[in-house]
Symmetry: D2
């Protein structure tokens, strides 16, 4: 009986037009049902890139569209594995296609627990999208659980175990989560497409031609080395140029201060929020149910920010309005463990001009590790990318590629000090001396010691 | 002094990365200020395509991104006109570049009065986005007015007069509003890009090469005829395949029923809405100010729909949840003035199964006139597209192009009858006879007379 | 034994990187052998677009690349048919995959008999590329025959019968040759890509989604109607804007005159050609073998034209040099059966200025019929395009599409009179009166009666 | 008077449709005349990529199309410099637009001296395309000289001095020739487009936004660092994956052997070549005039190879036919200064099977230095890429970019040993022992010591 559901194929394949993959092909009734579930439809209301669309206005796509993309790449990998590298022909290293539906479900659902502006929201309200993903998949109250549970007993748990990387088949786990997985491949291509940046473009077709299963996971044939290189470089470029863009981070800082300030005000006077932001209250009170979590989305938060523009507290009003009307904090690079005294001096000037430093300045570090090989002693261990020779032997990627070696094991990014834009463009001449002094700390976009400018 | 503002160019041109036009180039301080105004930033929170993204999931872009695109195309036309067809060299037909800033502002702001889900919302609450656009531009309370008013006295009114087509220079008016204007050109390309459909693609670069000013407006050289043809066909294809997609209309029908039902419930019991949908109340009461209008956006409506899922009225709850969770009504084509009796019979079956026909069925006609020549006696007169010969004489497009002639003067589209999807997929076997009867009215996607099926 | 060869798949699929289809996938040893045959490699030395690259400089691709493309589209159709519409499941209308190799070979080889500048060459030397294609496939002397003949007895003849449309299975025939076949689909996309024109772009993926086999050939589901429409319009646009470009035709006219003049000179004095153009001699003598035909290509002709620049005859020298150095004749549109007397007058002026009319003027008509339905009484009968309803019934395309109806059954193109560019730009002032008179016959790119110019 | 010619603009700009840059815009009469000169039209008959199209069949574009592209990129840089960084506003670092026509002419003509299959041909016949370029520009016998000489006295010499890097303005020189110049930018984009490989794609628009003139040449603003990085990586990828492809090099080896063998045979018996390859004779005799050089092109060589298939010498026949019919030598990687003894052993086996090692084996090393900073003591000094800070100070690229640092100063590529494909696929079983022995020297695509295989 369960077997029937697992293998229940749609009489006619259903497709979703997709600008990145052309078509998303849905062949299983289970997948179609999951897409139609209300928990999955909710992802339409959560932007994939958060505040990035304030900088790259095209990047307004949702986690819904990304999730379909991850599913589709996974489906294509399964097809290639099933046709060319089936376990029937390769009993040691081959792909067992009975794992297909688990892989597809995990791919589709891997982000289903994301909330609005996750990056920022999680830090403040101590939510954890991965834990919520597992919850949504395994809680009997969700539509998703009901759909998965019809496949076979414990099917929801199996799907969840792929998300938590505990599923026994490493090929399935690495498809969804590794340094070159369906998730990353889709978001790089998708974010590049929608933002209109070409840096994220790499040759997916070529990568799919050289991907190979082996007993401990997924590898790439040696002659595909340059295609993998290209993917790593694209990833690096997207982080440097899109994800870490200083203006988006300037909006993120405002969002962070806004939510924190609301949380603080709630402690003093809960009434306004209970009346005008009811769906956020469980989070302000730090005790929420899954069902409450699932009611949150970008729309709800943005709608509440609109209401907060009328709140009696001037800082809440101002921060909410800055966020809605895109008035980011400005920033300057600095060198950690060196420029902090200078930042302290700059902060003093900012406060002198009437800005509360807690709400109007910030330190923001954004760093990414483009690639790393396996380092068993580190706390966050990475599955390294393996290249496969003709004879099946494996070589770790950075051993073959000097390009990847240059990026491996070293984080890239920068540290920035954020402050009100007004520090640079004084509304009146009144504070001119102060802003002139402030400006003397900045040269070529970096913090300098104004007394040593000559160097 | 005013002159200074008009000509105030940014020290360094500012650009916005755009996937459709590569870069949006901003050269005037006024334009940058308009983009940064809160009324314009609000367009980020209104989707360009309304319910279409329920069918084409990539189509989640906002009116903000479209408005920048219209501005950019207008800017490029101005550049071409100024360089090659200046009024200095062509005193009769040439372009007077002192109109540039007016054209750019009108292009940027032409959609600034749009509200959430305009198409549906306007029908129910009797708002009018064009009138609001004029209001936003000319009301002293807006940031946009302040910015424009610094340019010169009456500048806001001049910009508004382009929107209302009363500006004396027909070249400026037709750039923004005609059968082949910057608005249409941007939305076809943009909607095609984001939805991932290629039908809307035409050769903008080529069209910009053949566009010419003349004393009564804008024309295209004869040797660019095929480029214009291609644009008309693209437009037709986008309407047929994207804008009129039956599933998006099935969601629009739900939205329409949902808002109407809310309006009706408000008459009976205003309390729930006053508490949980405060920003919508002015519209439910049919008296709103500009400032109230500007607080509405997609986020606010969607947030309220989330609250309505808890309303005591089961139909409101159900419709709200169908909208949020994408449960469109299903549909079938019919022939107007012929199949109505059959629809009445089908509606009876639907009601027999417990669905309120008013809330769960609908007739939806979607028709577009891809192109028409000037017909002075019709109520909605169109500026026809003119081709310009080497010697400057003009010929109307459909006289030269058999392709356009085939599309001219005839509306294209269809009429559909919408009903609950459950009529096709009964949840239980109980109603099987009824649903089987219902199904007998449908053949090849059209309504048929079940008693004459053999024909 | 024969069966073995037919089914002999490559151990690992071989791919060719292709800018239009991304990859060309080769799975059969037979196909790889055919590609490597010397008759097929010869297609690398014959441009797909002849003189068109003199206008669109990017269009320098060869028939080799197009032939691979036709093969690839055919392969994809076979895959779709085999997976979804196999004769096993649809005994009446389904696809019998035992025809696959025949279809693939016919697709790959359908143009293998083309010679250099076919369009022009065939007219002069009475060759026929389709007859040669059949010859190459069925003559025991060719490598292609040897490869095909190993598959099974009479396999070469079967493949040839697809080319001549006599193969019994109409699905195979229509894949390769119908109004919407793999050949046309590839060349439209490929020519558009290489020339950099977007008109030829249509949505191949979508067309492949809606293609269906039925017992009398190939149809398209009704809901794919707009995709087929788009293809027809693209085809029309490519003919109007690329294939019929007046400048390319101006070069074709020169080539035609050059070859004709050489043939005439050969009658008088064969010696020069025997010495300096040996591979062309069999054609100048109008008796050639297959082996001689296969030695000709664009390189050989162009090399000979280089030699002819030294021939004692000044007209041959001049025409050869005009061709190599791209000095096309200029042209003007005219109305057939009306403007001939005016052309006679213009020709007189041309001759008066010393140009031999036979070698330096020409009438060139280029017309295409974008689509037609089946008209049994016409000499060139066309297989009409059929749309398939849900219930399997068929409707002819132009019955459903007003766009196609506008193009159906009517040829599009123009008639042009070609003359030396010098008529417009006199080298000296000596002939100014004559050229001024000549110019008076031309207005807005068309021939006019200079005495009635006022009309 | 000369000034007139220099500034003579076309009444209407002329455009060439280009798939890479959309349109090539020609505004000067001089440029149009140069394009129409016979020396420039000759570039249509020389492929940009030589033997690469044997591997990437789309890469059949000519040097004509590339030269237009280099011109167009240069034109765009001039436009940007003239509008934003004119010497009028920046007397020290600005751009003097009176250099525009020189820059455009040099860009257009920089490759005009290339002959057929330059890479190989030059090695054998001791020609030098750069010297010929200078010759064509400065020799009174050419059309190009005549056109340039009308601009002003010594204008041809000035243009030539840009090619030889002796022109006094370093901005002009670096536009045409530096590590990131219009030449490289065009060929990377163009070769990527035509071959259908995405590796060569970088963001030209972005690079053009960040390019800046300064007194010693051309720099890029610091915030464009990642765009320049991307270009360097693209360049590296194109070399590794396209230009150094082993199969193309296997064809180049054949071409090299073929031409060398012909040169040797000519010494013994000149008659055949004088009769059947007259245009090549000056090169076989090692004394040629410019006019003779200009008659050579790909067509001529390929036509002669066709004739050589009938030469009495079996090796010439065989090599010519291998080249025309694409029968490349096969290859294997080896480690220089280590595997030579093994290659000697392999060569012995090859000779034992009857292949003349000189004509049927080869060593081919292909290395590229993706980027290097200025090293004054090296023989081939490179102009390093400079990044410009806000305050105008310069930093060398690899100092800022760890990615570029990883590629800088180190050549990338490989060394390969080429041998007849038949060594792997014996035509008969006769030599099976030998071929089996031969195969034992190869493992994972590299040469190994068969006696130590276990390692």
């Amino acid at each position: 009986m369960e077997k029937t559901v697992r293998e229940q194929l749609l009489p006619i394949e259903k497709v979703f037009r997709d600008p990145v993959h052309n078509y998303i092909h849905v062949q299983h009734q289970v997948i179609l049902d999951l897409i139609n579930s209300k928990e999955f439809q909710r992802l339409r209301r959560i932007k994939q890139l958060g505040t990035t669309s304030f900088t790259f206005h095209g990047g307004e796509h949702s986690r819904f569209s990304h999730s379909l993309g991850v599913y589709e790449i996974t489906r294509r990998i399964c097809n290639i594995f099933a046709r060319n590298f089936s376990i029937k022909d390769n009993p040691v290293d081959g792909w067992d296609d009975s794992n297909r539906l688990i892989a597809l479900c995990a791919a589709l659902l891997h982000d289903v627990g994301h909330g609005p502006y996750s990056h920022t929201f999680e830090g403040i309200f101590e939510t954890d999208h991965e834990a919520v993903t597992v919850d949504i998949i395994t809680s009997p109250e969700t539509e998703i659980f009901s759909i998965l549970n019809k496949v076979e007993e414990n099917f929801p748990e199996k799907v969840a175990s792929v998300i938590t990387k505990q599923f026994p088949n490493p090929q399935v786990v690495q498809m969804i989560s590794s340094q070159i997985d369906a998730d990353r491949m889709d978001y790089l291509l998708r974010d590049a497409y929608f933002t209109g940046t070409e840096y994220g473009t790499f040759d997916l077709t070529r990568i799919l031609r050289v991907v190979r299963p082996y007993k401990d996971g997924i590898a790439f044939t040696t002659n595909g080395m340059h295609a993998v290189e290209d993917y790593i470089v694209s990833r690096y470029q997207m982080y440097m140029q899109v994800y870490f863009h200083p203006v988006s981070r300037g909006m993120e800082v405002i969002l962070d201060h806004l939510l924190k300030h609301a949380a603080k005000l709630y402690q003093k006077d809960a009434n306004f929020f209970q009346l005008h932001s009811p769906l956020l209250v469980p989070f302000l009170e730090n005790r929420y149910t899954l069902s409450e979590y699932l009611k949150l989305d970008d729309n709800v938060l943005n709608c509440y920010f609109m209401m907060w523009c009328e709140h009696p507290d001037p800082i809440l009003r101002d921060l909410a309005s800055r966020f809605l009307n895109r008035r980011p904090l400005k920033s300057v690079k600095f060198v950690a463990n060196q420029d902090e005294p200078l930042i302290a001096e700059m902060t003093e000037i900012i406060e002198k001009l009437g800005y509360d430093a807690k709400n109007y300045t910030a330190i923001n570090s954004s760093y990414d590790l483009p690639y790393d090989f396996y380092r068993p002693n580190q706390k966050s261990v990475r599955t390294q990318i393996e290249l496969m020779e003709h004879d099946g032997s494996l070589v770790e990627l950075s051993k073959q590629s000097s390009l990847v070696q240059a990026l491996a094991g070293e984080t890239h990014g920068d540290e920035r000090f954020y402050f009100p834009k007004e520090m640079y463009q004084p509304a009146s001449d009144l504070f001119q001396d102060d802003t002139r002094l402030f400006a003397s700390y900045i040269h070529n976009g970096k913090i300098i010691n104004p007394n040593k400018k000559s160097n």
